[in-house]
């Protein structure tokens, strides 16, 4: 489906958020954790997660890091340019699940991993009364690499979410933590026996984060990680995204740690 760029914002030196309006029949509304294939004719196609609100009245919002030809071209789009959109694809974070009523939430993001988790936060804030304690742990390489700093401040100030930020390398007046995001896990609020965790970031970070969350006593089937694999089709046919028995695009990208732990324990799986 063709979409047109309504607006674009630079988030960091290599990350841009694009806001898209349908130029024809829109795709179904992606749920938090789902992704779309964004296509630039003549350049190629990339899997990009929803990073905006999951709502029929809202435009499609995606946050893209320029790492290669397609993502660089997506980051360079101007207002009015057209993009092809297929999707949405994949398994979402399952926020509609009534099991989450009254749950404490641990949202753990590394780097660009905050982008697919932002729709989760929007949703949680809209239904704040449904949940107990909500903690957001955010890690980035450096302060200037942190996504959505203004929103992080806003959420933190509102008191609705306990936000903890950390960076690998800080400048002198950095007011938050320094170190890897897994070191923030002890700061989680709430009770582990009713906590659900949503984790997205580089694979290595997710592996350690999931292990420390489980180590604290959160049930492994309640630790949801969002995996990344090479994807060409988005619907379980091209074979590229396989991880053991899973087609990450179709069975994932969101999968329970209990189902992927053994697969992710093996190198180069």
């Amino acid at each position: 489906m063709r979409y047109r760029v309504r607006a674009h914002f630079r988030e960091t030196h290599d990350v841009v958020t694009v806001v898209l309006d349908p130029a024809e029949e829109p795709v179904p509304v992606p749920r938090p954790g789902q992704f779309c294939m964004l296509w630039l004719p003549g350049v190629g196609e990339s899997a990009i997660s929803l990073s905006g609100r999951s709502h029929p009245d809202e435009p499609l919002v995606h946050t893209v890091r320029a790492v290669g030809p397609v993502t660089a071209a997506l980051c360079a789009l101007g207002v009015g340019d057209e993009v092809g959109v297929r999707g949405p694809f994949g398994r979402d974070f399952g926020l509609d699940d009534p099991d989450l009523d009254g749950a404490d939430l641990a949202i753990v993001a590394g780097g660009l991993g905050l982008a697919p988790l932002r729709p989760v936060l929007y949703r949680v804030l809209d239904e704040r009364d449904r949940f107990g304690e909500v903690t957001l742990l955010v890690g980035a390489r450096a302060p200037e690499e942190l996504l959505y700093p203004d929103e992080l401040e806003r959420w933190s100030r509102s008191g609705a979410v306990a936000v903890f930020q950390t960076v690998d390398r800080a400048w002198p007046n950095w007011p938050h933590e320094v170190g890897v995001v897994t070191q923030l896990v002890p700061l989680l609020r709430g009770r582990v026996d009713r906590t659900w965790a949503f984790v997205c970031g580089p694979e290595l970070m997710m592996r350690y984060a999931a292990r420390s969350l489980v180590g604290r006593g959160i049930r492994p089937e309640r630790v949801l990680v969002s995996l990344e694999r090479n994807m060409q089709c988005g619907f379980g046919l091209c074979g590229h995204c396989q991880l053991g028995p899973f087609f990450v695009c179709h069975d994932g990208p969101v999968l329970e740690w209990s189902r992927v732990e053994s697969l992710m324990a093996v190198r180069e799986r």
Partner: protein, 395 residues
Amino acid sequence: MARDGFCLDLEPPTGEAAVVGRDALDALIAVLRADGYEVIGPVRRDGVIALAPVTTLGDLPTGWGDEQQPGHYRLVGRDDDALFGYAVGPHSWKAELFPPRADLYEVRRSGSGGFEVQASPPDDRPRAFLGVRACEVAALAVQDRVFLEGATRDPVYARRRAQAVVIAVDCGDPSSSCFCASMGTGPRVTGGFDLALTELATGDALVVRVGSDRGAALLARIPHRTPTRDELDASREVSRSAEQLLRRRLDTTGLRELLVAEVEHAEWDAVAERCLACGNCTSVCPTCFCSSVEEVTDLAGERAVRRRSWASCFSQQFSYLNGGTARAGIGARYRQWLSHKLSTWFDQYGTSGCVGCGRCITWCPVGIDLTREVVALRTRPSSATAVGMSLAEEL
């Protein structure tokens, strides 16, 4: 019929049997062509038995056989004039249903920043497959699971498959690479065909079994007669003696679980020393289904075509992610391929992904033989896993 449940059970044939002569087979090709089918069958080309359009029975490699070993293939003259006296060659029917290259869409730029998309015209000529072996009928059933009953139905495959007429043939002279009996897929064709032929050792008679209404209708249009009891016995004897010739074995007991358990086995490193990651095994395999999509543009950049092509899990780019390749080492790629074929395929499609055709053994330039790799995985001790680092240490 899957004798041990490792491969799929096929729909058993419905109809009766008949006997036809070679002239009737020639007539069958003509009938199919008159109905608008492109008949694809075995031909001798570039030193191999290839699959290509045929117009008469004379196009078939009469009197030719093959010699196959790990990493070795050679055509040899037979001392009879058998029509189907060879095992499977490097081609498989996969190429007809899941084309090696297919254009999906064409895009043209329109105005500033806009574009128009048009679906590429499909190549949907009806096709008739002549000489489909038992392992290949099994492979078609596996591909049906993948392309018709998987996460998404593939429209190209669906259209071509619905039209395809399957004329199977029982193997009389399997190669040394074949292990269909271990996989429960051959050498006798037991279902999944419109017509199945057995070439009898003597004379020019072929026994025909009818597997579908479409097959019965075709048979009705060519000269045929009722078989004698001796001819039916002779037809079964062809398969019995073929089975005796099958030397290669794959022990499938506990195989699914073995590949889950042995992810850290030292054999993966050992095979990586030999494997060239050329991807021959995946392209000759009748069930491998992976593909990539690329964008092909004209020089001016005004027109682009999205083209789907076969891909191989042995290539470096296959699992490419920004910052590297998920399966950087060749051992990890071989492990992915073999584990998929023999283990995770079950999780995804409820069947083995290997049907025992032996192609990957013959066409591996260094002669890597999956049946021997399985033996190695069963016998050599597993290596230990190293764990216990922290994220900060690994970074």
